[in-house]
Subunit: 170 residues, 2 copies
């Protein structure tokens, strides 16, 4: 098992996922516990969040691509591209989280967390913009034009809702 | 002139817009200079930013409301509502900034900055969502349907672009 040991460098030493319970140094323990936040990359909370993101973006992508006429609307193509990108990002993070949990080592150093934060920021903005554009079109077709008989309103609405939920888990 | 004086509470004492130059306490000066960032509420940079926000959101609102058919599309109504709200928010901040500059006192204490940050976050998200939804509709009308002859595409595009620029200045 790969955990941090005796020599005391409380700031630089990478924290472990078990909170360093088998380490008797109080000062180091305090440092590790302060840094350990559920939902961060490399924790079980982070894994659950990224897996939910992946599931919802995959559902949005799947539902939208089952409609035959989505390529005729630019906003729906953009939603497919954004959710596809989000699927790739989320599954990469899921794999990283599983690796970190398996080797009992978290990914909570500043450089990795900053990289994840920037990536999450870009991907979440793209997903939100795509979901808003799709919502605008969906409401136009359904409420303003009342033209659901010729369009797959239910699928469009479901895909948009899934994209919003997926964005919400960022 | 109303500025902070002698008694040394470098964290709690509200900083002045002139950086407390007429105060001889070095410790307090250092504290004030660290907190003074251009673009924050109560500074000239903040005033310029909020005034730009106000101008662009007013332009977006004005251009959109000059089209006769915007009420028939929900996303455009939402854009009008969001930019209207942003106009009110921005002009309130402009008035506050002018007041702070006139009385030579900045608004850089934690509670006010937090309130502005939360308000900015909510308003900017609303504006961004409205701009994305309008962009989706505009692209649908212009590129996908090619129906600009019967619609005010130029106005819709201008209003959407102004809303995006206004969001970008947050």
């Amino acid at each position: 098992m790969c955990v941090s040991h005796g020599s005391v460098h409380p700031v630089e030493d990478p924290p472990t996922t078990d909170g360093g319970i088998n380490d008797n140094n109080d000062h180091q323990l305090a440092g590790l516990r302060m840094k350990y936040i559920q939902g961060m990359p490399g924790t079980k909370g982070g894994l659950a969040l990224h897996f939910c993101q992946f599931l919802f973006s995959l559902a949005s992508l799947g539902v939208m691509t089952t409609t035959s006429d989505f390529p005729s609307v630019t906003a729906f193509c953009y939603l497919v591209a954004a959710t596809g990108l989000q699927c790739l990002w989320s599954i990469s993070l899921v794999i990283l989280d599983i690796y970190a949990i398996l080797v009992m080592r978290s990914l909570q150093n500043n450089r990795i967390v900053s990289m994840f934060a920037v990536g999450d920021g870009i991907i979440s903005t793209l997903t939100f913009a795509a979901a808003c554009a799709s919502a605008g079109i969906t409401v136009l077709i359904d409420n303003d034009l009342g033209d659901c008989s010729q369009n797959h309103c239910a699928q469009f609405q479901t895909a948009t809702a899934m994209a919003f939920i997926s964005w919400d888990t960022f």
